[in-house]
């Protein structure tokens, strides 16, 4: 019976932060995969699991390609050799809902995946596989591909749970964690992967990844995650949103039709409150007031009905105290509770000061 650990030594304590930072870097890496190391790690995982070595190693460019490729292998190898993952896990992934994108991505990537997977024809085990690839199988693939997303090992995106176990493997160490060494090598080297009995599908890391200061996936004018094959996810401060929204193609009508409140809010922020209050014809609350500390400019408060934010709130439209390049002043909106009944109260609430104090503002830069 192993001794129970009740506290960490100072050395182990000191190792926590560097360990965390190392795994953050692994999870967020956009470097090209270390293919030799990833393959070696995957083979080590097979050995540790007591499995025979796979015959084929297939590299694809994204989780989407990987999921489609995995479906191809799983559906066609099912009779001949049971497909399945080496290790099931409850992972914390950075990418979620990839399956939804199958709808959009599926037709475009099919040929490419087929071309790569098709090289598997050269391996004797797989030769019967390709003969059975028919149009009907293809039509039935969508939900099956979703299954493959669930059965993936997430490579670098297993950083969440692997970092925890890796700490106890390397720093403490705790007996049993050494069994993860193969998985950890793969996670440090590439993206999602699918281990089958006789083949491994390994995929590349993203080519680009963008976060906001709070470390949430975010890019205001393009994909937040992008893979080499073009597979991409769009995200506004951590909320996954449609590409059309990020491209600025949503008008007020489309925004208000959006059933998901998080996406609706994101779309308003993307459009800009100053534009939205006008186009959505929001009702003004109270008088227009002078903006303290920002001479020559005013602040105006508007009602934001519950249909927009799921609860009634208000928005204060202000003008930036500092000019933009070219001399114009940017307008922006700040949301506040409905308890704010004048523009000054709203502005004061934003900094948690009284309206009387806010009115003394000497300069707003």
């Amino acid at each position: 019976m192993a001794e129970k650990i009740t506290e960490l030594t100072p050395e182990q304590e000191a190792a926590l932060e560097p360990h965390r930072d190392m795994w953050l870097a692994i999870g967020l890496s956009t470097e090209r995969a270390d293919r030799a190391e990833a393959e070696a790690g995957a083979r080590e995982a097979y050995t540790i699991a007591g499995l025979d070595q796979p015959e084929a190693v297939i590299w694809l460019d994204s989780p989407m390609e990987g999921a489609i490729g995995a479906w191809m292998l799983a559906s066609n190898l099912a009779e001949e050799a049971a497909a399945g993952t080496v290790v099931t896990d409850d992972t914390v992934g950075l990418i979620s809902n990839v399956e939804e994108d199958c709808d959009e991505r599926y037709p475009g990537v099919w040929e490419r995946v087929m071309a790569v997977i098709g090289k598997g024809k050269d391996y004797p085990t797989f030769s019967p596989v390709w003969a059975g690839m028919t149009e009907s199988a293809r039509n039935g693939a969508k939900s099956a591909i979703r299954e493959q997303v669930r059965s993936a090992a997430y490579g670098q995106h297993d950083a969440g749970w692997l970092s925890f176990n890796d700490y106890f493997r390397v720093v403490v160490p705790v007996e049993g964690t050494e069994k993860l060494s193969g998985l950890i090598r793969v996670a440090k080297s590439c993206g999602w992967w699918w281990p089958f009995d006789r083949a491994i599908i390994l995929t590349e890391r993203p080519v680009a990844l963008h976060l906001d200061p709070q470390q949430r996936l975010h890019k205001a004018d393009g994909p937040a995650i992008e893979y080499a094959d073009g597979f991409a996810l769009y995200s506004w401060h951590g909320t996954r949103v449609p590409a059309e929204m990020i491209r600025g193609e949503w008008d007020t009508t489309r925004i208000l039709q959006e059933p998901n409140a998080e996406i609706r809010r994101s779309a308003i922020e993307k459009m800009g409150w100053e534009e939205f209050v006008v186009k959505a014809e929001l009702a003004q609350v109270g008088e227009v007031m002078d903006d303290p500390g920002n001479p020559g400019y005013t602040i105006t408060l508007y009602d934001v009905p519950a249909v927009i934010y799921d609860e009634p709130i208000r928005v204060l439209i202000c003008t930036n105290g500092t000019p933009e390049r070219g001399g114009t002043r940017r307008k922006f909106g700040l949301t506040c509770p409905v308890e704010c009944s004048t523009p000054i109260e709203a502005a004061a609430w934003g900094y948690d000061v009284s309206p009387e104090v806010y009115a003394t503002l000497q300069r707003r830069a």
């Binding site: 709070q214 809010r265 934003g350 948690d352 000061v353 000497q362 707003r364 830069a365």
Partner: protein
């Protein structure tokens, strides 16, 4: 310390920090002792607070860090700043810390897009801004 009225250009030279090119280098930075805001930060006179005792180091104190190192609100040397312990979740405090500017000194707060604030002698809190979402959250400017 001497009279600390600086232009933006002089502040850039003195502190070695950059601000956006289109902000006029000739513009004088007002030195004020009242309430001032810079983007999502507020400088508020706080005569009742205990004065800060931690000297602002030569490289400054980033009171609010921006994306990948940019858009940081940076307090520059010339005074003292004690950072506050920040709460979590619903209890999150907007007060980032206490700033103390000694008699005869000026503390400047730099931001790439907003230029400089000049803060005259006194005791101040430095706060950040919140907005109403599904939960109240901090403004990212």
């Amino acid at each position: 310390m001497q009279n600390n009225t600086l232009t933006i250009g002089e502040a850039i030279t003195r502190f070695g920090v950059q601000v956006d090119e289109h902000l006029s280098r000739e513009a004088t930075i007002p030195v004020l002792t009242g309430c001032q805001a810079q983007g999502d930060t507020l400088i508020l006179p706080a005569p009742d607070r205990a004065p800060a005792t931690t000297p602002i180091p030569a490289m400054g104190v980033p009171v609010v860090k921006g994306e990948v190192g940019g858009n940081t609100h940076l307090l520059l040397p010339g005074g003292f700043f004690d950072a506050a312990l920040l709460g979590q979740g619903e209890d999150v405090s907007l007060v980032l810390g206490v700033l103390t500017v000694p008699q005869g000194s000026v503390v400047y707060q730099a931001h790439p897009e907003h230029g400089f604030l000049g803060i005259g002698p006194g005791n101040f809190t430095v706060s950040r801004q919140r907005e109403q979402s599904d939960v109240i959250r901090l403004v990212q400017d």
